[in-house]
């Protein structure tokens, strides 16, 4: 029983962080119909930012979030103004491969600068601490904090999108960019802003994830795929959809733990022989595939 509960709890906690990872992707997609393959690399940048600022300034990793947010915002805006803007004129093929080039660029730049080894945080207020919530279920403090802060960041972005003038302008651009332009909304600036917000939210997530996950230059793709799965499930462009889908995908990533629970509780021999941990992320890909085929608009899709 404890395996099941801790798997589910871990899944939900990681799901909240993953929802924040996917948020940036869904905002960018919603506003300008472009899928950013470099999304996971933005996350990687956030992870390195969190790690390096925490180490060089000797501050707690959780205090690095503002740095990560600024880096992410600037990175997003630069990418849009300097590159993505030009892609929007071209056909979809060009957009796919263009953001893919961006991904390769960021990934290998990180490789050149940081080398290929895994780096992890070893200090910090919460690193290594955990809560025992009874029944043998242990929750690492870093994950709990990351989940809490993710929800807070998610909520802040949601408020920004729904309760402010800028957010309304963004939504208008998303719904009908030409119409928005006629209404005097600077859509070009809105697009850049969407990339800024998208970049900031994913780098914040990266700075949170680095608290319990080591970082290397190749980590991006995994998170890109996870983010795609979440956005597909939640519906491309839907912000609340991303949150709930994040929770679902979080639980999907914990399928090996749940599998173990069934294996040992009911003592099923063949289940024990399946090397479930090596399939950990296969479920995410499979989930994406099935979701897309069964319900292409996602559970909460509102666009197209």
């Amino acid at each position: 029983m404890d395996i099941l509960v801790s798997s589910l709890a871990a899944g939900l906690l990681i799901g909240m962080v993953l929802a924040l990872v996917a948020l940036g992707l869904t905002i960018i997609f919603g506003v300008m119909d472009i899928v950013n393959f470099a999304h996971g690399e933005f996350l990687m940048v956030g992870m390195y930012t969190g790690l390096l600022t925490a180490q060089s300034l000797r501050i707690d990793p959780l205090l690095t979030l503002p740095f990560a947010a600024i880096v992410g915002f600037v990175l997003g805006v630069i990418c849009y103004v300097g590159f993505v803007k030009f892609l929007l004129r071209g056909p979809m093929v060009a957009q796919l491969l263009g953001t893919f080039g961006l991904m390769l660029f960021l990934r290998n730049l990180a490789l050149l600068i940081f080398g290929s080894e895994d780096r992890a945080l070893h200090h910090g207020l919460l690193v290594g601490k955990s809560f025992d919530i009874g029944m043998g279920v242990i929750i690492p403090a870093t994950k709990l904090a990351a989940a809490g802060l993710s929800v807070a960041a998610f909520w802040a972005v949601w408020i920004l999108m729904n309760r402010t003038k800028i957010g309304k302008a963004l939504t208008a651009t998303a719904l009908n960019s030409q119409g928005a332009r006629y209404m005097g909304i600077p859509t070009e600036r809105m697009n850049a802003l969407a990339w800024g917000i998208g970049g900031a939210s994913v780098t914040i997530a990266g700075a949170l994830i680095v608290n319990f996950w080591s970082v290397n230059p190749f980590i991006g793709l995994l998170f890109t795929m996870i983010a795609f799965a979440i956005v597909a499930l939640g519906g491309f462009g839907s912000v609340p959809g991303a949150f709930f889908a994040g929770l679902v995908v979080g639980i999907i990533t914990e399928i090996p733990g749940i599998w173990d629970f069934f294996t040992y509780t009911f003592n099923i021999r063949w289940m024990a022989n399946v090397p479930m941990t090596s399939f950990k992320y296969m479920w995410v890909y499979l989930a994406y595939f099935i979701i897309m085929v069964v319900r292409p608009r996602g559970l909460f899709g509102w666009k197209r």
């Binding site: 979809m92 060009a94 080039g101 290998n108 292409p296």
Partner: protein, 335 residues
């Protein structure tokens, strides 16, 4: 008969193109006669292989406009079929290659059927997902050597072995893949003018128009996807015999899928020469950059950075690739 005539008919290209193509073909046939390093030979073989991958991708991705980023899974199926059959049952290449194509085409129908209900980005991402699922499975499947992969040890055979494609000198591999290369060009030349080719180009522009011209859009896509798959799987089988050491990480990785798509894009998707031009530019550049820069300490990744910058430039400035630039200068259309 009509098909063969059509395959050999390049008359809709201008004379200069045919002249350049002729010169390049003669060069390719004569290349091994010239003095060359084994590195240059390996690069040439890579170039021919990737041209073929690109031609395969180009049928569905270029003429059909369906951006497929999961071609590596078929490279893997082809390579593994050839390697498993050879190492376990001593089946010659010329039997295992068609078998590999058969398996790959079957798999392409299984995933292509649901996949082609998706469009655009959704389709592209889903192809990545299926490719990664298959790779994950191969990484734990003991029968095919799991993550360690498979090794074809040449000691067991007596080279040159034309049946099993085991040679000591690369020049044999070179001529075999060159043969495939020319056949591939003829096939694509036929394909682009065939009924399916025309239908596909119409689908690319507007699916509703295509439908009302009696084209079964879904089926046409699935069929073309199978053709692309057969191409890629064939070269995958060759890859297994040539490299002799295959593992999921290099035959089925996403990077390979992207490289294939990129090659065709860079050269010019939806044109006959595009993938060849793309491979001709990218492959030598990639190997030599890696040789010159990657080997030096502290410059790991710089070759891929340069490479990424090229991708970004092409997609932002001229999405129709190098062939697009050529055609724009001439003011003509894609072929």
């Amino acid at each position: 008969m009509e098909a063969i005539k059509s395959a050999l008919d390049f008359s809709d290209f201008p004379r200069t193109d045919m002249f350049i193509a002729g010169v390049v073909s003669v060069f390719l046939v004569c290349f091994p006669i010239f003095p060359h390093s084994s590195f240059a030979m390996a690069t040439m073989i890579q170039f021919l292989m990737f041209s073929l991958y690109g031609m395969g991708w180009n049928t569905i991705g270029g003429y059909g406009g369906q951006v497929d980023l999961g071609k590596a899974q078929y490279v893997g199926i082809g390579a593994y079929t050839a390697a498993v059959m050879l190492t376990r049952w001593n089946v010659p290449f010329w039997v295992s290659m068609p078998m590999g194509m058969f398996f790959a085409v079957c798999w392409s129908f299984i995933i292509g059927y649901p996949l082609f209900r998706l469009k655009g980005h959704y389709f592209a991402i889903a192809t990545i997902a299926t490719s990664l699922v298959l790779k994950d499975l191969f990484e734990v499947w003991d029968f095919v050597g799991a993550a360690r992969g498979l090794e074809i040890s040449p000691i067991k055979y007596s080279p040159p072995d034309f049946l099993r494609l085991i040679f000591k000198q690369d020049v044999y591999y070179y001529y075999i893949i060159l043969g495939f290369f020319f056949l591939g060009i003829l096939y694509v030349n036929w394909f682009r003018k065939s009924r399916l080719g025309f239908q596909l180009r119409s689908i690319k522009d507007n699916e509703d128009v295509a439908r009302s011209l009696g084209i079964n859009v879904h089926w046409a896509k699935v069929k073309t996807y199978a053709i692309a798959t057969a191409f890629v799987s064939m070269v995958g089988s060759f890859h297994a015999c040539y490299i002799k050491n295959i593992e999921p990480e290099d035959t089925m990785s996403l990077d390979l899928s992207i490289l294939i798509a990129l090659m065709a894009m860079l050269g010019g998707a939806g044109s006959l020469w595009g993938p060849i031009i793309g491979a001709g530019v990218l492959i030598p550049m990639k190997s030599y950059l890696k040789e010159w820069l990657g080997a030096r300490a502290g410059l790991v990744g710089i070759d891929l950075i340069i490479y990424a910058i090229i991708i970004m430039l092409v997609s932002a400035v001229e999405p129709r690739g190098i062939w697009g630039i050529v055609e724009r200068v001439r003011g003509r259309k894609a072929r």
